[in-house]
């Protein structure tokens, strides 16, 4: 069971490789923000599964902070694009 969690945790990041490509070449800032948002969701899932693999519940809080603050980052980029932040 724990090995399965590790395999899925690695695979969750591996399937998000096209998001990294889009983040690298994305023609507009919005493309990069969308790819970053999706990738941080995948990273959150990977952290949750890794904490179940390693039996360390402290990683769960890292995943919780990642999921909540990636939203703030995407929202800040959107407001900055809209010229309402500054």
């Amino acid at each position: 069971m724990t090995t399965l969690f590790l395999v899925v945790a690695v695979a969750e990041v591996a399937v998000a490789l096209p998001l990294l490509l889009r983040m690298a070449v994305g023609p507009t800032v919005g493309d990069r923000a969308v790819a970053l948002n999706a990738f941080s969701a995948q990273a959150t899932l990977s952290l949750l599964l890794f904490s179940a693999f390693a039996s360390r519940t402290i990683y769960l809080d890292v995943a919780l902070w990642t999921s909540s603050f990636s939203y703030l980052g995407t929202l800040v980029w959107a407001r900055l694009l809209e010229r309402e932040l500054l």
Partner: protein, 110 residues
């Protein structure tokens, strides 16, 4: 038995995550990329979170964090994607040439 359920749920989640990532990479413009990402993030994350709960047991710290992360993904992720789409549309990000509706000058209901 429990391993089979966890494996199946993780396979469903990984399939939708992969399809969303490929959609973000292959779609022609920003708006279709947002559409590909938001649907598949929620649909790819929730089966994996259910698999985590099934695999670790119900009354554990994993369950409470899985429920919290599921709530955050379900509520905040559409809001963030909507904000990015609105900002990009207002600042004139070009659409795909096959798009059939583009009405930036239309009066917005306030």
């Amino acid at each position: 038995m429990r391993e089979v359920v966890v494996g199946l749920l993780c396979a469903v989640g990984l399939f939708f995550s992969l399809s969303g990532a490929v959609g973000v990479w292959r779609m022609p413009d920003l708006y279709t990329r947002i559409q590909a990402s938001t649907k598949t993030i929620t649909l790819g994350a929730l089966p994996v979170l259910v698999a985590l709960v099934v695999g670790t047991g119900v009354l554990t710290p994993y369950t409470s964090r899985a429920v919290l992360v599921a709530f955050l993904l379900l509520v905040l992720n559409p809001a963030a994607s909507h904000a990015v789409a609105r900002a990009s549309y207002k600042t004139g990000t070009p659409q795909w040439k096959g798009a059939v509706a583009h009405e930036p000058d239309r009066e917005q209901p306030s």
